[in-house]
């Protein structure tokens, strides 16, 4: 296929639209309507329980961290606080953005706004970028949330374990959004009616960061930044680790989530932080199913899916060599075998559209 162009104004984006790929119907596993209705049912209780645990733990860990500051004995508590601030906020942003975490809309919105601030994402912009990510998952030039662009830049991936690249991108975008609204790239997926919301959210976020910075200068201490801002870096590792597993090393430019998404079975702590998004094929195929019902959905549809990776370590053992290989051969990808009970992969598009991915690229 040659060099990929990830620009929303580039050749790959145009080709995805002109070929019909961008508007194609995606593969879905057959799940009976009554079963799906039961799975989609909303409830406040699981998310209220998890949110109380999350916020109470954050207050506790940050409180102990502040009490022990500046002793190194505070470090474990900052690490625990950081992973909740800089990683659990990613899954809360995600699930509440879908509106599926709680049954009550204002609860989804409240947690979404708080999580957006912590994960350093404009709540208005990113609601729309994620809608595009679901419509056109890993279509080059169309999906604005591709975590591993090919050929992968390994140094950037590793730096982002500490949020470095995300934060470097976030700060100028925040200022630009606060001054003049969405960037030209953002305007490709944010409707004009929402541009004012982008600017207003950016102004609020910027004001909080300026106030925190001013407090740090006044106190002659980085302690305020340990509570607000820096945990997005020192606690980012978990959401980067799980985020890379979502699609890393798999196919792009396909219309079957079994080809471009990965389900990984994980330990209970990671599943709490990640809010069950380890069931990622299931989530992409049926985004209306709340996080707490995804394990049940997995049991129902697993006969139609490639076998899940059995641990984070096993997922990385599959993904990381593929990412390294893509450095030299960006057309390489992992194509996993389906069980005999599954329907074949939907490969019609990328076998027929010139310039699109060909299964022969996998080895």
């Amino acid at each position: 296929m040659g060099r990929r162009d990830y620009s929303p104004f580039g050749a790959d984006a145009r080709r995805a639209v002109e070929s019909g790929l961008a508007a194609a119907e995606w593969y879905h596993t057959d799940v009976p309507r009554k079963v799906m209705k039961d799975l989609m049912a909303r409830s406040d209780q699981p998310a209220i329980r998890d949110t109380i645990i999350l916020y109470a733990s954050m207050v506790l860990f940050a409180g102990i961290g502040i009490a022990l500051w500046p002793s190194w004995w505070s470090a474990p508590f900052w690490l625990a606080y950081g992973v909740l601030y800089g990683s659990a906020s990613d899954s809360r942003w995600h699930e509440c953005g879908h509106g599926t975490a709680f049954r009550t809309p204002w609860m989804n919105n409240a947690v979404y706004q708080i999580a957006s601030f912590m994960i350093m994402r404009n709540p208005a912009t990113w609601r729309w970028s994620h809608a595009r990510h679901h419509s056109e998952t890993y279509l080059v030039g169309r999906d604005p949330e591709i975590a591993v662009m090919r050929p992968p830049e390994l140094a950037k991936l590793i730096l982002n374990v500490f949020g470095v690249i995300d934060v470097i991108r976030f700060i100028p975008t925040l200022i630009r959004n606060a001054v003049s609204g969405p960037t030209p790239e953002e305007k490709t997926f944010v409707p004009e009616s929402e541009w004012g919301k982008v600017r207003r959210a950016a102004i609020v976020h910027l004001a909080i960061y300026v106030a925190t910075l001013a407090l740090a200068v006044w106190m002659q201490s980085i302690l305020p930044l340990m509570v607000i801002g820096l945990p997005r870096m020192y606690g980012a590792w978990h959401h980067i680790m799980t985020g890379l597993l979502q699609h890393g090393g798999l196919a792009d430019n396909v219309i079957d989530h079994r080809l471009n998404s990965r389900t990984v079975l994980m330990n209970p702590i990671s599943r709490f932080i990640y809010w069950n998004m380890n069931y990622h094929v299931e989530h992409h195929m049926f985004p209306m199913v709340p996080y707490h019902a995804l394990p049940r959905l997995h049991e129902i549809m697993k006969a139609d899916l490639p076998p899940p990776n059995r641990s984070i370590a096993e997922g990385f053992a599959e993904m990381w060599p593929a990412i390294r290989r893509q450095v030299l051969n960006e057309d390489y990808f992992i194509r996993r075998d389906l069980p005999p009970t599954a329907k074949p992969y939907r490969e019609d598009f990328h076998q027929q559209v010139p310039g699109m991915m060909r299964p022969a690229a996998a080895e």
Binding site: R42, G99, R127, W128, A131, H134, S135, F286, P287, M288
Partner: protein, 103 residues
Amino acid sequence: MPWIDACSTSDIDEEDLIRWDHAGKTFAIYHAPDGAFFATAGLCTHEQVHLCDGLVMGTLIECPKHNGQFDYRTGEAMRAPVCVNLKTFPVKVEGGRVFVEVA
């Protein structure tokens, strides 16, 4: 405009919907929790996804692709990413059948 016989009242569970295709167009017919029936255009105004696979919650229909919501009684767009209202159609029930006035 003529009233078209679309389905039986028993074809749709309460708090659910079905897809109904007629004259080259696709519609969604809803059975509200209070027993009333409603009809709207069948495709989401955001990205033209069939609403029939979505979730009915009270008087809302949630799109299966991006979780946008409409009030299916009025067609009003209630939750992003939907911004454009859904077209609605008059419905009447006679003799256990649901009729839709297709404009």
